[in-house]
Amino acid sequence: MKLAVPTFLRTTTFKLALLYSAMFAAFSGALLIYLYYSTVYYIRAEADRRMDLEFEQLGNAYFTGGMERLSQSVLERMTRNGSTFYYYLEDSSGRKIVGHFLRMPDWNPELDVQTVYFDVNQAEPDGTEVVHPMAGRIVRLRDNGGALLVAFDTAQQTAIVGRIQRAIFIAAPIGLVLSLLGGLVISRGAARRADELAHTAEAVMGGELGRRVPVRGSGDEFDRLGQRINAMLDQLEKLIESTRNTGNAIAHDLRSPLSRLRNRLEIALSEPMTRESAEATLGETVEEVDRVLDTFNAILRLARLEAGAEGERVRMDVSELAEELAELFEPACDEADLTFQSQIARHLTVLGDRDLIGQALSNLLDNAVKYTPKGGTIRLTVARGPDGTVDLTVLDTGPGIPAGSRERVVQRFQRMDSARTQPGSGLGLALVDSVAEMHGGKLILADGSGPPEAPGLKATLRLSRT
């Protein structure tokens, strides 16, 4: 049986962590190696430079004063405090003239210059022996046959290099472990956010349409992705809601007129039919069907509006539109024995759809004309509202809408039961509210300034100017 790779090892978290630590290890390894070699190189180069200087000075002594001057010079250096060099000078017969050591280390006298490495055992005061690894250079003296050794104790350098090596051996595994952990932490963070997305998607699929991806406000890629996904979910929820509402509304608002229609036809069928009665029944039927179609259209329109599928927003002058509608409605008010007044601030613009706003405002005016008793007053005002809004207000002296019912009348696909006896689909205010919402505003219903028994209605269509 083939062993399954543990799930953990296949996760992006693990792969990312591995990648992070590999990258970190490679980087720090390269750094340590560079550090090691550059240190070693520097120490060697420094020693070489100083030895070159020694030979130069001793060479000067030899060339100016011969063997005697040289041996004197070597002696001086040997007794000088703080010198880090060791010396040994022998004559052509190989006898020691002066020096730290007992004899010359093994070397090849055929060569003019030779680098040698050798160990020197030194007895410490406590009786132990310490081995000093030495590095030196032996130069044959020209015209004489003697030889001069200058050497230095490499113990210090070796110690430095050794310490660096030890540091590297200790640091590397620790660094590797740390980088792996760091990688895990970093990628776990990313993985957790991805998991959050997955969980949200699962929850939404499971029917929790209100679930949203948590957004931290850090503005990183995950936040931006989350915001997009949330916006998408908002839109989807709206669409689903709208579809659901449309279905309900069709059931709700169309069933009763269709039932009435059916009853009427049943009755007509059961009664003896004359040409006149048939004409009357069919005429009524056509009217009823028209009403059903009107309601149906209104429902579809609202649904499309709610789903944001209707309307084209351009910069438009609402003052101008209101002036036109005032002019359009004024004669109708006159005819219905109503006083029409308007006060319209000039050139207020919004980003909106002219037809939709026109429809919304004429719905308000139409309502006012329908519900205001003879002798009443309708007043249209257009003015700046708070926070960069424009308020289109229609005030009438009709019965008004009781505070408790206001929320209900603007709800889509619902209306006051008393309104069912009035002509129209009853979706008028809901449409106004929808249009307002689409334009970043709202429909505000309030009492007018009339007496308590008939306060009138003050309906404000508030639109955002941008």
Partner: protein, 234 residues
């Protein structure tokens, strides 16, 4: 030239509609209005007929088999066809209307529609062609005269004062003198509204206009056509 008898108003109309019942209904409405009708049940055949024969107007359904209405009208226009077209569609959005007009149709009517609305609009289509050839400066209907340049309106030589909107309303009625003009047509063409203000606002405006042009005269010119709209007597 403006005065026309019913005989002269008769047009040959091509109806392109795939729903047989709807096609029969349209045909009946148009025949009753005094026109002769030819029908086509799909886009391909409709386009062929429109190209081969000389019609005064065509009524085109938006959604058709073989070739949809938009494409049909666009291709017909691209090929140089000038017969005015009216779109008939269940897609009644403003955007859909705009699409239809952009494709080259002269008018757009959403289903369902009142028979009178269709008859009136088809009739209005027929008048478009001559108007484009020679721009008129004076409109006449009976003894009513409108000068489009001086914006002066007289009836039997008597000056009539009109508000700007009334002037435009009368101008539209005079351009379609002898034809039935519906309330929706007035809203669309005179007020440029694609929405329904519901209250009988148009009726009130028309009756005000009527008071100005008919009141002092024996013979009324502006008639209400029951269940349809208005007609200015030619």
């Amino acid at each position: 030239m403006i005065a026309m008898t019913a005989e002269e108003n008769a047009m040959r109309v091509l109806v392109i509609e795939d729903d047989a019942e709807m096609a029969r209904f349209i045909e009946k409405v148009l025949v009753e209005a005094g026109h002769s009708v030819d029908t086509a049940a799909d886009g391909e055949r409709g386009l062929e007929k429109a190209r081969l024969e000389d019609f005064d107007a065509m009524v085109v359904d938006r959604m058709l088999p073989e070739k949809d209405g938009l494409t049909l009208v666009r291709e017909f226009r691209d090929a140089g066809g000038t017969t005015p077209a009216l779109f008939l569609s269940a897609l009644g959005d403003v955007q859909n209307k705009v699409q239809g007009l952009k494709a080259g149709a002269e008018d757009y009517l959403a289903k369902p529609f009142a028979p009178a609305e269709l008859a009136a609009r088809v009739e209005a289509l027929g008048r478009r062609q001559p108007a484009q050839e020679a721009p008129v400066t004076v409109l006449k209907a009976g003894d009513l005269e409108m000068n489009l340049l001086t914006r002066k309106v007289t009836r039997a030589g008597q000056k009539i004062d009109l508000q700007p909107r009334e002037f435009r309303l009368l101008e539209y009625l005079m351009r379609h003198a002898g034809q039935v003009v519906t309330r929706t047509m007035l809203l669309e063409k005179v007020w440029d509204y694609n929405f329904d203000p519901q209250t009988n606002v148009i009726d009130v405006h028309v009756s005000r206009l009527r008071a100005k042009i008919d009141k002092e005269f024996e013979e009324p010119l502006l008639h209400t056509v029951r269940g349809a709209g208005y007609r200015l007597q030619g």
